[in-house]
Amino acid sequence: MTVERDSSGRNPAGDIIAALATPDGPGALAIVRLCGANCTRLAEKCISLSPMTLNGRKRAIGSFEGMSGPASAVVAISWPRGASYTGEEMVELICSGAPGVADAVLGRLFRDGARVAAPGEFTRRALLNGRISPLEVLELSAAFRGAATAGRSASALVADLSRALAEARAALDGAIEFHDSHLEGEGPAALGGRFDRLLETASAVTAAASEVSDPDRVFITGPRNAGKSSLFNFLTGREAALVSDCPGTTREGLRESTDIGSGKIELRDTAGWTGEDGLDSMALAKVLEEMREGDCVVWMSPRGRDPVPEAILQRKPRLVSVSSRCDEGRGPGLNVSVLRPEGIEDLKRWIAARRPVHGPGAAASIVEDLLREACAALRAGDAALASALAAEADTALSEVSDLPAGCGDSIERALGSLCVGK
């Protein structure tokens, strides 16, 4: 879909953004990206091209006067509005990777009216212009996290499923309306096969969408030497945290992805809470800064003797208080011991049961459940019920890529996690 602008050609964000799209430091090439209405004029001026050279989808070689010799040659590639990654007018300036060249080009562009792009701002514009879906933003972010997987991406699978679902619904409704009166349309066997295949695709969508979903974040917190690192190790199944009986061993927060129940969590070990020790307070301040509303917080203290600090309560987490090291003495609430082990399964169940239910993975598993019900209804000879379920699945599917209200946070985080030139 192309994005039509009003006649003034007004830029949605009101300005031209520019950033280096390649890593800092010397290399063979450095690419500077520009985006926004009339950014081609800026680029033409910057590399001494005559005006309108970059009108439309063009490639041209110019020369950057701030440099001499081979380092002054710059290749410009332009995309018109509606045909670029962001949906807006865009230019990429491919410069020499020699130190200082890209910086000088950028400096010139900033002086002429461009401004520094915020992290993920190009992608944000693509999202706002409807060029990519929220799901694709999460995919990009996951790819930058290194979580990209081989095979079809979640958004490609959603597109597959969406197409197949539309066809299956049409075939099913055609059979309902016409089969008996006109002997037209597919029989039960063909329809059953269609829906079984749909279910397979839906399972693949769930798996792929869960991969790119924000993992549920679980913070293990508590006073020093409460056994946080032991629990962390136990849950992650490896010797990641440096464990010692000496209080305050964990200085830097450790994080590790692991499975609980049927979903992924990101488990975080944190520095012990003392409330006064300067070093630990700083580590703790860092944890508190990262903690967001809705995160899961496991507050643990031996015999449950320490109340949850106000600073944590203010973050409105999903909170569970645990009496730790219960092999040494029991306390109120959930008693946990890694040594025995005891209470660990209960804790896992607690975390799994309170997992937030939004995000593409959760949305996709709703689609999958609806299609599973639809298959069962078809087998039981209730095509009408199957059709109602397929319609619900269709609606739910749009939430996998578009994401319902309430998922704005994860999109913001994903955009923020992208590098500047993306």
């Binding site: 949605p12 949906g87 999202l127 009166s181 069962a376 209804a377 009408a384 019920l385 059709s387 609606t395």
Partner: protein, 609 residues
């Protein structure tokens, strides 16, 4: 006080129900038609009902209409379509004795005291805002307090076969040009639609041994929940199935040069789901055969109807096509197929009560509202007749709600959607077909029949019995339990039906069977129906939500830029209009809601389901 007079123009399926409903609602009805002998005629297919349509007939019956009883009384064959596709889409359908059906409709009108007038209505009389009656041929005034126009395909009806073209609403009948002119003078815009009918053959000229037999299926049913009123026809008749061949196709194609469809004679759009054979050849070039049903027209009629071979090709092509069908090599044609192009009122010309725009007492019903099908016409006729009587009596008008049933779906679709082809009712148009079933039509519609004043005497008692039976069945489902499993829980499993339940819980056998079956289906689908109802309710609430507080859509940060542009260009006044715009996605509608909540345009928490 003398009862006010409702004048009904047209004696087809819409006109007949309109006159009957007007009488039940307390008015006197005068029905004006070209030919009293053709009242209630099945101008096309000799059949009533089908998927969704059959459910609509049961709703018409519950609303006091005559179509169900007449169909029951003239049925040559009962079939419940979709028996293997789930009870929510069962479609009762009968093959009718067309002459008998028409006779029963006329009998219903006469018994109700409807005055039948054989004449042509040439114009309306009096100002459109408040008509004083209609003008008949020769300029005579027929005075009345309200007017229902149910002219079917007769408004500027033109018939086509090959290069032949003549005026008429149906073969052998005249056409209403004068009335159409008067309506246009009064500011009503007419569009053009097209439909057609297949040839009728002499039944004795066919060799049925080359065709497949199609008989009545399973246990019988009646459309009318009140039971039989007119007795049953003296015999049952089967249908036959044959198929077109490559020869049929070639015969049709060789005459395309003379087809009014392809040479520009006909400009109106035809129904996509009831196409002519020449349409099928063009649209499905890969299909080597199409099914043709050979349907009897009646016990005393020598004719058979070729369902699936509607055509307006010239006679020579028609006979070649027919003789190419297995079993038809010696066929004699009794009536040729033809197409009819006719005027209909564009949406906006009338509202959901079927009252004409700008008038107190003019109503439209049937095919002139843009629909196709006897059942759709009858439903609209019933509503228009009732509302015409109410307007004349100074009572409030009714607009059927989608929750009542398909009649509400039909009216909402016809008045709100732009039609680009004749509208045919489909079960997939229902907001929840799991709720709008044929089995619960009386329970859904009887309360409205009573409220609108179109119920039959005794209907209030019948409703009380039905509701009592339904309550009994529901409580039995709740209380019955075997081996720790309640019947209520078991019945939600898709593979369990009411017979399985009776087997497992023998005490359920004592309940009224129909009510029990409905109660089981209600329980089975309750969750889905509730969800659908909530979606509809939310949507309805949100649909009218004003967007006027948004000064510039391009500054709404919660939605995509694409949507911002589309919205700013169109500047819709409410959320419903916004959602219909291309480029506006469901997530943008969510975004608009969030924006309105944030900026105080709507209270928080409005966005549900």
């Amino acid at each position: 006080m003398k009862a006010p007079i409702v004048i009904v123009v047209g004696g087809g399926h819409a006109g007949a129900e309109a006159a009957l409903a007007a009488v039940r609602a307390g008015a006197s009805a005068v029905l004006v038609t070209f030919d009293i002998g053709r009242i209630g005629e099945m101008s096309c297919n000799p059949a009533i009902g089908g998927v969704a349509k059959g459910t609509l007939v049961r709703e018409i019956d519950a609303l006091g209409g005559a179509m169900g009883e007449c169909a029951d009384g003239s049925a040559l064959q009962f079939r419940m379509l979709n028996r293997s596709r789930g009870p929510a889409v069962w479609g009762p359908r009968v093959q009718s004795d067309a002459a008998l059906y028409s006779k029963l409709v006329r009998k219903s009108l006469e018994e109700a005291g409807v005055i039948l007038v054989e004449d042509e209505v040439t114009a309306l009389s009096g100002p459109t805002e408040r008509l004083s009656g209609v003008r008949l041929s020769g300029g005579r005034l027929l005075a009345g307090d309200a007017v229902v126009i149910a002219a079917g395909t007769f408004l500027r009806g033109v018939l086509f076969r090959g290069r032949q073209k003549w005026r008429g609403g149906r073969t052998g009948d005249g056409s209403s040009f004068a009335l159409a002119d008067d309506l246009e003078r009064r500011g009503f815009a007419l569009g053009r639609f097209k439909t057609g009918t297949p040839p009728r053959l002499a039944g004795t000229s066919l060799d049925y041994s080359e065709m497949e037999l199609q008989c009545e299926d399973g246990p019988g049913f009646l459309f009318s929940f009140r039971g039989r009123r007119f007795g049953a026809p003296s015999a049952r008749m089967p249908c036959w199935v044959t198929r077109t061949t490559g020869k049929t196709r070639r015969a049709a194609m060789s005459a395309f040069g003379e087809s009014p469809l392809f040479t520009g004679g006909i400009t109106g759009r035809g129904p996509r789901y009831c196409p002519s054979f020449e349409d099928k050849v063009v649209r499905f070039p890969e299909r080597s055969e199409h099914v043709v049903f050979v349907e009897p027209v009646g016990i005393d009629s020598p004719l058979v109807y070729l369902n699936g071979l509607s055509t307006s090709l010239p006679e020579q092509a028609q006979i070649e096509m027919i003789r190419s069908l297995p079993g038809c090599s010696e066929a004699r044609v009794a009536r040729w197929g033809y197409a009819v192009e006719y005027g209909y009122f564009l949406p906006g010309g009338f509202d959901g009560t079927l009252r004409a725009a700008g008038s107190e007492n003019l109503f439209f019903a049937g095919q002139i509202c843009g629909t196709t099908g006897y059942e759709e016409a009858a439903a609209l006729g019933l509503l228009a007749g009732r509302n015409a009587a109410a307007a004349a009596l100074g009572k409030p008008l009714f607009e059927p709600d989608q929750a009542w049933g398909y009649i509400g779906v039909l009216v909402s679709d016809v008045t709100c959607r732009g039609l680009d082809e004749p509208y045919r009712l489909f079960s997939s148009r229902a907001w929840s077909r799991l709720h709008l079933r044929e089995d619960n039509a009386p329970l859904r519609c009887l309360p409205w029949a009573l409220e609108m004043g179109v119920a039959r005497p005794g209907d209030a008692d019948l409703l009380a019995v039905l509701e009592q039976d339904a309550d009994k069945a529901r409580s039995a489902l709740e209380s019955c339990s075997a081996e720790g499993v309640r019947a209520l829980d078991l019945c939600r499993r898709p593979e369990i039906d009411e017979r399985d339940l009776v087997e497992r819980y023998p005490e359920l056998a004592e309940l009224d069977r129909e009510s029990f079956r409905s109660a089981v289906l209600d329980e089975k689908y309750r969750g889905y129906v509730d969800r659908a109802a909530r979606r509809m309710e939310t949507w309805r609430r949100l649909h009218g939500l004003s967007l006027n507080s948004i000064g510039d859509f391009r500054s709404v940060e919660e939605i995509s830029w694409e949507a911002r542009e589309a919205l700013e260009r169109a500047r819709p006044s409410n959320l419903g209009e916004a959602s219909a715009l291309p480029g506006v996605r469901p997530s943008d509608i969510d975004g608009l809601l969030v924006h309105l909540a944030r900026t105080g345009g709507v209270p928080r928490g409005t966005h549900g389901s």
